[in-house]
Symmetry: C2
Subunit: 185 residues, 2 copies
DNA sequence: TTTAAATAATATCGACTCGATACTAAATAC
DNA sequence: GTATTTAGTATCGAGTCGATATTATTTAAA
């Protein structure tokens, strides 16, 4: 049993403990995860296929979860004008309220000293990046760390989508995010 | 969105990616988790209720998962002589073979530099301890870090169960584990 | 331009998870 | 010697999940 197996085991166990709490309040862990993603994602990243890729699951599976979430009234469906095949989900006020409640796992990690917290976040993020590289998955980061981000104008500009970004958009998760080459090996 | 929420989000996302891989080879994530636990746990810690507590789920749910695992031939059931209500599961050779295959997530974290790995492990373990304290759950650690551990004899002695430990036993997970008071706040 | 191939979302299927509830049997308390 | 606790299960209903197949729609190629 080496270090990386123990790390994986710890991550899985903490996630499972979190999942156990996650049942409170009309949602199951998969639904809660999807809803939390939708709250954090920008308007170009809220299609079923995007949520599916974020969680490493299939479109079919995520499609069902999102339909349930919509039926429960926590997200609303909106079809795209430019591509009639595409749809996008937006959290409702009820949905936003649900994800904003305090969480025991987050509270526990809040008790770590700040240095430990930031070390932990960086190491997890780094490990995730490496895992995604193996999988060929997208990084789903924020505009400001993206190679398509151009800090022109008030809140920057996306060179890939050719749009000016609003304050809130540039602080959200994007499917198209490509980590700008840095120290990450 | 503060640091501890981002940490929780990262942990959940990595676990979900791991779960997606976990479907390979005749097992689903819950079954694989339970099997992995049973491989690591000592002989006093392999009852359905122990596995259930480890993962923060109910006895009923875990009972079903273990029955499936037994039906598939990856674990074998054994009833206790001292307490006729109790049973204990032991991984079969087929079960052990299944959990020893290399894992993409573990491989990814293996690429972190050693310092980063140990920092990560410690911080996760610390966070988990704090989360368990809130939950009132058991720590499920190894004998050597347990307050019931007495380093007498060849491989030590357990003061709680009043038994001499074998080499392999003292390196396994135990339900009765109580973290010896240390720097953990 | 008209077929061909790729893409987005969904429906359906079967095995299984999961919490909740109710139950049996055995051990422990009083 | 009865009451209560504890260990494990069966059963239920909603939902996950991968697999597969299907429908629209878009894009590429001939």
């Amino acid at each position: 049993m080496d270090t990386n197996h123990r790390i994986r085991e710890l991550i899985n166990r903490i996630a499972r403990l979190d999942a156990a709490h996650s049942w409170e309040g009309d949602l199951n862990p998969a639904q809660r995860g999807a809803l939390e993603y939708l709250v954090l994602a920008n308007m170009y990243s809220r299609a079923p296929s995007h949520v599916a890729e974020y969680f490493g699951t299939t479109r079919g599976t995520m499609s069902q979860t999102l339909k349930v979430l919509a039926r429960k009234g926590y997200i609303s469906e909106e079809s795209s004008k430019s591509d009639k095949r595409s749809i996008s989900y937006t959290p409702t006020d009820a949905g936003r309220a649900l994800v904003s409640v305090s969480n025991p796992i987050a509270v526990a990690f809040n008790s770590l000293i700040p240095d430990e917290q930031s070390e932990l976040e960086n190491a997890l993020r780094h490990g995730l990046q490496l895992a995604l590289k193996v999988n060929g998955g997208q990084s789903f980061g924020l505009c400001k760390t993206c190679k398509h981000y151009d800090p022109q104008g008030i809140n920057g500009f996306c060179n890939l989508l050719s749009v000016s970004l609003s304050e809130s958009e540039s602080n959200k998760i994007c499917v198209e995010h490509k980590e700008v080459a840095s120290g990450a090996s």
